[in-house]
Symmetry: C2
Subunit: 300 residues, 2 copies
């Protein structure tokens, strides 16, 4: 299962009870936090996200609406007695800011905080069953997108068939990855005779604040779910460009060109009270589009 829960869907200025950017990605029994605008810890309490289950936090860029809630979350985790280590992936300067805030408060964190500076694109976290990588997007300051991918064997064993063909269980892991088995009596057991296609590994791409740029489509090609910012409606394309943001049509164009399955749009400007038109405009270009609404979980 790969799912995304929206904690904040607004751009810089909080308005209409919408909050600055934060998302929770659930993948393989792990919870990942992506960006952490002011008030994220309160939003987590509201939507019953268990802070203690978060071991990895990803910060796309150092505009405040994407990280001003981080230091409060980190210190609250400490006050709650956290001891397990936490990994933070963010632009390098954030390390110094956090260090200074802890120093002036004369406090330490009671858990190890591992800071992973985002410097180049590629994998930043790899475990047996998933991988997270970062890629550049195109904002006024350095800004990163994140790509979450499940890693899964692509075949599922049929145990009855495997027994019938006398494949030993010690070979099962290799069966899952598609190998055929050569028995000692010289008989070749074709992989497809004892396995079936497994559920597909899922993927989610998060494109933080960015200009419209078709290179992004290359980065997120074919993902199951794409989040792309849409600060403005399509009539403000010129303003979007000047401010290094995207419109509905631009986000939907990325989704279409990248051949993704589903598009989520968010980071709405506080100039808009109603959001329905965002959905309408995006769907004209890419029908399988949804608004990123706070408190809602989107499954792949």
């Amino acid at each position: 299962m790969l799912a995304v829960t929206i904690l904040g869907n607004n751009s810089a200025l909080p308005a209409f009870d919408r909050h600055p950017t934060a998302q929770v990605v659930t993948m393989e029994d792990q919870i990942f936090l992506v960006d952490c605008g002011e008030g994220t810890q309160m939003q987590m309490a509201k939507y019953k996200i268990r802070r203690s289950k978060i071991n990895h936090i990803f910060i796309s860029h150092l505009h405040g609406d994407h990280y001003f809630g981080l230091i409060g979350l980190l210190t609250s985790m400490g006050l709650l007695g956290r001891t397990q280590e936490l990994h933070l992936y963010a632009p390098p300067a954030l390390h110094e800011i956090i260090g200074m805030q802890l120093k002036v408060a004369d406090i330490g964190l009671p858990y190890p905080l591992h800071f992973h500076p985002l410097i180049t694109d590629g994998p930043i976290l790899r475990e047996t069953r998933f991988e997270v990588s970062c890629f550049p997007v195109y904002h006024r300051i350095e800004s990163w997108g994140f790509l979450f991918r499940e890693i899964r064997p692509f075949r599922r064993i049929n145990p009855d068939k495997a027994r019938q063909y006398e494949v030993p269980s010690s070979f099962f892991d290799r069966l899952k990855w598609g190998e055929s088995y050569l028995r000692k009596d010289g008989v070749l057991v074709e992989n497809q005779a004892v396995t079936e296609p497994a559920a597909k590994a899922r993927s989610y791409a998060y494109c933080a604040d960015t200009l419209f740029d078709l290179r992004t489509a290359e980065r997120v090609r074919g993902v199951d779910l794409l989040y792309h910012e849409t600060t403005y409606l399509k009539d403000l394309e010129e303003q979007a460009g000047r401010r290094f943001h995207s419109t509905t049509v631009q986000a939907a164009t990325i989704a279409r060109e990248a051949g993704v399955h589903r598009l989520l749009i968010g980071h709405f400007s506080s100039k808009y009270e109603k959001l329905q038109v965002f959905e309408q405009e995006a769907r004209e270009v890419f029908p399988n589009t949804d608004l990123a609404l706070e408190g809602v979980t989107y499954k792949t």
Copy 2:
């Protein structure tokens, strides 16, 4: 009029929909912000506090629950197009933190931000009709209390009497401050013959995170309204001492020893869901005590 509106009444860890410390003091048509925990700008929106009317912000100390919301508020004021100057009174290190956060975001503020470092006790802001001063309280790190005082002439002119006694209007300001008038014909017009007592100048003292210390009673002697932190109930006096905080009974003792008119208590530990016992315990020592409740305005 001097009044205090509570935006956050909880201690460090937000809980039970209570927020970290922030208060708005209204005095003489000015709005002052005192401390600014995470989410203060959202609380301001909720309780319809006009950000644009705030020209002075006071930060007691650099524990996060008293200032993590500040940078978000400052940048939001900028996004809202503020141009009028803003004065910030805070421990010196905050200047550097704000500077670094603006630098990494590659933004400036479109209004002048004047930083006034808190270094020694005494007046920090003085205008014709009010004065704000700071005084040390006793926390694990440097922490300041703030004293707000209206400045008012203590006599009010009775215009009929003044005319009758032939006091020229050019002398009225001096009448208000208690002077008598010597007429050119040698007649002394006693001040009390042409004036009445004016409404009393009001005062409010804010005691941020602090140990129980009777020196504080000296600092806040006789104020109309005293806010004193009460992180814990009275049975946790030992823990309060270890953590540089106060209990209900300790806060009420300061109020009683200082001879204040009314006591407000807040900064409740997140270990307490119900707050009624705080009020009960404090009232046993100082009956005119109220809980500082979010969204409520307390008038002097």
